[in-house]
């Protein structure tokens, strides 16, 4: 997993609530047996019209927007547990998703792939979206060590929460398997004690 400490980047607004994982990566693209290539199809049915042409209205297709941060509406990542959604967002180049609320499974999947799900208040989210829409060149700064997100136009910032263990994993690029393998003896002892 890639390490993450700070990121300064422009951001792309996606002002829609309840973005489900079927929108992030439709089921018909889940036939692959490796993790590569999902970025090409992220938000496929919003990015392209049914006959295959680009939907110029969609936020990712607007040349004025760029960056490695997606700023999305409430309850991002609801629905299916498919980790392909996280792989697709990472594959497209996103490193941080900002929202006022994340669905549980998506949040875990993102963290397991070095993609930071950053939860802010509804008020701050609306502020970010309006600032980015007003001037797409504004930059956000995400500081994981100090758990702070700021925007350079208004200088407003907010602190964010992250599980201390997950924070350490993100900063060092560790994953849960490393930790669990180090606990094998304890796990075996548990099995014996509970006669499994």
């Amino acid at each position: 997993m890639e390490k993450f400490t700070t990121l300064t980047s422009r951001a792309i607004p996606l002002d829609i609530a309840n973005v489900d994982t079927d929108q992030i990566i439709p089921a018909r693209f889940l036939k692959a047996t490796d993790k590569k290539g999902f970025g090409d199809n992220v938000f496929r049915d919003w990015r392209y019209n049914k006959e295959g042409s680009e939907n110029v209205e969609f936020t990712l297709n607007q040349p004025k927007y760029a960056g490695n941060i997606l700023v999305a509406g409430d309850n991002f990542g609801c629905g299916s547990s498919r980790e392909h959604a996280a792989w697709a967002l990472v594959g497209y180049g996103f490193k941080v998703i900002v929202s006022s609320f994340f669905a549980d499974i998506f949040k875990g999947n993102a963290l397991n792939n070095g993609l930071l799900p950053l939860q802010v208040s509804e008020d701050f989210l609306q502020h970010l979206i309006s600032e980015i829409k007003a001037d797409p060149k504004v930059k956000l700064r995400v500081d994981l060590r100090n758990q702070k997100i700021s925007i350079n136009s208004s200088k407003r910032f907010e602190s964010f929460e992250i599980d201390a263990y997950k924070k350490t994993c993100m900063i060092n690029g560790y994953d849960d398997i490393d930790y669990l393998l180090s606990k094998k003896e304890m796990i075996t002892a548990f099995e014996n004690a509970t006669s499994r």
């Binding site: 889940l30 993790k35 629905g79 609320f101 549980d104 999947n109 599980d163 263990y165 606990k183 796990i187």
Partner: protein, 466 residues
Amino acid sequence: MSNKTLFDKVWDAHVVDTIKKGPQVLYIDKHLIHEVTSPQAFNELEARGIPVFRPNQIVATADHNTPTQNQDQPIKDDLSRKQLEQLSTNCEKNNITLYQLGHKYNGIVHVMAPELGITQPGMTMVCGDSHTSTHGAFGAIAFGIGTSQVAQVFASQCLLLTKPKSLRVNVNGRLKKGVLPKDVILYIISKLGTNSGTGYFCEYAGDVFQNMSMEGRMTVCNMSIEMGARGGMIAPDQTTFNYVKGRAYAPKGKDFEKKVAYWKTLPTDKGATFDKEYTFDAEDIEPMITYGTNPGMGIKISENIPTIKDSSFIKSLEYMNFEAGESLINTQINYVFIGSCTNSRIEDFRVAAQYVKGKQKADNVTAWLVPGSKQVEAQIIAEGLKTIFERAGFELRQPGCSACLAMNDDKIPQGEYCVSTSNRNFEGRQGQGSRTILASPLVAAATAIAGKIVDVTENIETLEFA
């Protein structure tokens, strides 16, 4: 402090270790896998040279990406065939039991596992599928995981998790005739919203659930994730024990009696408290239907679509081509799907068959019936339901996830409505541009006969089933 919830009791019995100010190491009893979310996990282990730790606690099936016709022939779609071949290879290499396509125990993971007695009260169970919450119907902690977590369970039979908060939903009273478990859960989600359960594990309590069959309880727990809850649970009771008894993986003889004695200690203690609690009256529930693009956008079939001034709500109605304030009654429907891990068990087909018997489906309707497993399929034939359906013009297909997520060829065409017994009405869920209306098997059957949405409550008293 000794007053514990059902969830607490099962969770606490599986904690191997607690990281200071961090998550807990939770032991997983049973790991179910399928072809779509497991290959990358096997690859990960292989790349890192890590063996599968407890292959005996893993059971595999092929379901998401399988055809529902001609299952005895090679799969035409190259990628789908390759994905199934990879599952077979991975299971063989790692000594994992696989009920592959065509096997008499094959089926949708959340239908075949309970059927085989793999699912038991008091267990912890995971699967790379969000509807793993289904197994909570037995009083198990069961939840969906991502592929990285599938790899973690392969490697250690454990997961690192923070204990979720607790939520209880009580429904008391008597359900009206024609109100099915699907209506109960669609009603709850319509009242609480799609993220009310996020961060929580939900217990369903009250006499409505106590009086429900295991099939009904599975339908309810299945959709817990649609209100954001990682899982849902119902206290195990005699109905549960009777269901588990005698199944292939169930403990036998004295072992079974010993287990039952333990399972009887699991229900939530009197006086235990929950972080959130809601109570509903069974009498208020009617057959439900959805009008939007998330499962929380549901109404009683006799109600009109609400008017809400919110951009996501408006976008959703635009996608569905519905107007705020209108009724869905008489909306022409050309596709009906009865299937999915929510409603593809034998009871679901019995209800549909009882309604359909002696009637003919409308000419405009394509009606697909997809059983949840080979065993359900065999039962449909043995009970004579297949004949009833075929006489009425319905098509009985072979088991699998099918049009619930449309990974295979079972896709609803662009712009078409489908009244579906599945669990998600997201944009394009049943095929690009398709429009899904979630409902019970009864409402789905009635729609197929009428060719349009009809108010099943109007002639509810004359319906021929109990």
